[in-house]
Amino acid sequence: MTLPLTPVWFVALPLLLAFASPLWVRLRLLMPLLVGTPAVLLLLALALLPEVRIAPLVETIVIAPPLGIHLQLDSASWILVALISFTGLLATAFIWLGDGESYLRDRRAFIFLLLLIAGCNGMVLTGDLFNLYVFLEISGVSAYALSALRRDAPALEAGLKYLLIGSVAAVFFLFAVVLVYLQIGQLNLAAIAEGFAGIPGPMQILIGLLMLVGLGIKAELFPFNFWVPDIYQGSHPVVAGLYSGFLVKAFLFVLFHLVFLLLADPGVAGAWLMGLGAATMLVAEVVALRQDDMRRMLAYSSLGQIGLIALALGFGAEATTAGGLFHMANHTLIKLVLFLTAAVLMRSFVSARLADLAGAGRARPLAAAFFVLGALAVMGLPPLNGFASKLWILKGFAEAGVFWPVALVLLAALIEAGYYFRWIKVLYEPRADLPEARAVERWGYAPIAVAAGLIVLLGVAPFLVDDLFIEGAQALLDRGAALSAVLGAGS
């Protein structure tokens, strides 16, 4: 029997392995499979890359589109899929190697982690609106459960809060899906895109706003993102790293994918999203100034970067979009380093509070060095990868002669420096009584080191990968090509 290399595996493999989990417990294969699955998916993604670069892969399930469900792997979604797999690999490797908390290493965590990966992959790949809703809920449910995994009061609180707000988002999104179906009678995205212009204007607005609220809550845009810091703080940092690393990226991608696909002229919606992105960025960076819990601070910082990405993608120019996609990837790497470092620090010093971490840099020099590296990268300081992508975005704005986003981005970066450098300073505080540090597994640094190495590599040599992102941006922006790939050239 030969297994064809199709995009279906991105969803199917983690789902199958997750549901067969009792088997793996018995066979003591839980941890190897947990790490192995994203690794295999990453390899699969790499293997598919040459094909994807030639033309988008459309994988039909049962019936051909527009009637059936299909998965579409183009250059843009490939970036997300590879990112999800890679992030999953590093995070699970950290869980395995880092010898961490037992609740992250048991069957439930295994199931939910794989479900999260499957859900996100599905969201990114699917070409069907209702399917999108399903994957959205799969990833949502697994995320709620992951937050509550620790089963103490803060974790349960985080899980509950996440569940409440997430369900509301899902209801809004479902409402939009229902309206779309009622108006067009189609669920295939390409088909909807063709028919969307025919919907009466007020209904378009209603659908758009419903989707905006639904996805905006999930994608952490400004007036809908008040839940984020609480959830990130209550969850384990590795889980928060996954949220910040690919969950929110997947939602953001879906949001912009829908915008660019459904709307013939994404100008107005893009402007709205740019505004929301700018507000998200500025508000989050300012509020982050007063945080004294590392997880919460990182949550705000993550919000800020999401805002930046929304700003870049919303502009819709090729350079900003490519830069935005690149920044997604970079931000994922950076936040992974930061959250995993936070996990190490939390395990060493029990607390993640600023006051308790004073002088930690002298007790845990490696972890602090990774934190510094991540902080420098997230602020966009060269020669790290955050700089390359920010430069790309800003260059895109400058080429278009639009300067207010440039000013806002730079201002936000300055504010961001205000709190990151405060943390760095405190980490290296000279203190006579160094805090007591509990032992951590040295192998746990390996995934962080890999991510850190990539941060530096992508910073020094972004030209290695910039083609991918340009193609991704073109795939994301080129509505006609996307439609014809699904519906055939004649449509």
């Binding site: 209702f130 809920e137 449910v141 609180e157 509950l160 899902a170 209801v171 179906y181 009622l182 609480d230």
Partner: protein, 127 residues
């Protein structure tokens, strides 16, 4: 007596009105109630209203179930099967979410003795 219901416009109007009322009742429960279970019930009501809306608007009077049996050999005068399938899926998902929510709420209650949504104050902005 209820013949006026055979007019799709009237029927759909009633459905829209009813589901919207249901939706806002759910929203009210979600926003105004403090007990966790009541809040979850609010969410469930909102979801329910969306399902009802979907089914109600996708079906017109006089359509039969989309099952090819009992001598029915063509696809005429059948309800669109897709909304029903979708709604079934959505109900399953909604149930899963609701179950997870209820279980979390119960665990929370067991752990802390509280079931008040306003008492979720462990995680908040620093003063």
């Amino acid at each position: 007596m209820l013949a006026f219901l055979n007019d799709p416009g009237v029927l759909h109007g009633i459905v829209v009105l009813g589901t919207l009322i249901l939706f806002f009742i759910g929203l009210y429960g979600l926003l105004a109630k403090r007990h966790l279970l009541k809040v979850l019930i609010g969410i469930a009501l909102m979801e329910l209203s969306v399902y009802l809306l979907f089914i109600g608007l996708a079906t017109s009077p006089g359509e039969t179930a989309p099952i090819l049996s009992d001598g029915l050999r063509s696809f005429t005068h059948m309800a669109d099967p897709v909304p029903q399938a979708l709604t079934l899926t959505a109900i399953v998902i909604g149930l899963a979410v609701l179950a997870l929510g209820v279980s979390l709420a119960i665990q929370y209650h067991r752990l802390t003795g509280r079931a008040d949504v306003a008492s979720l104050t462990e995680l908040k902005e620093p003063r």
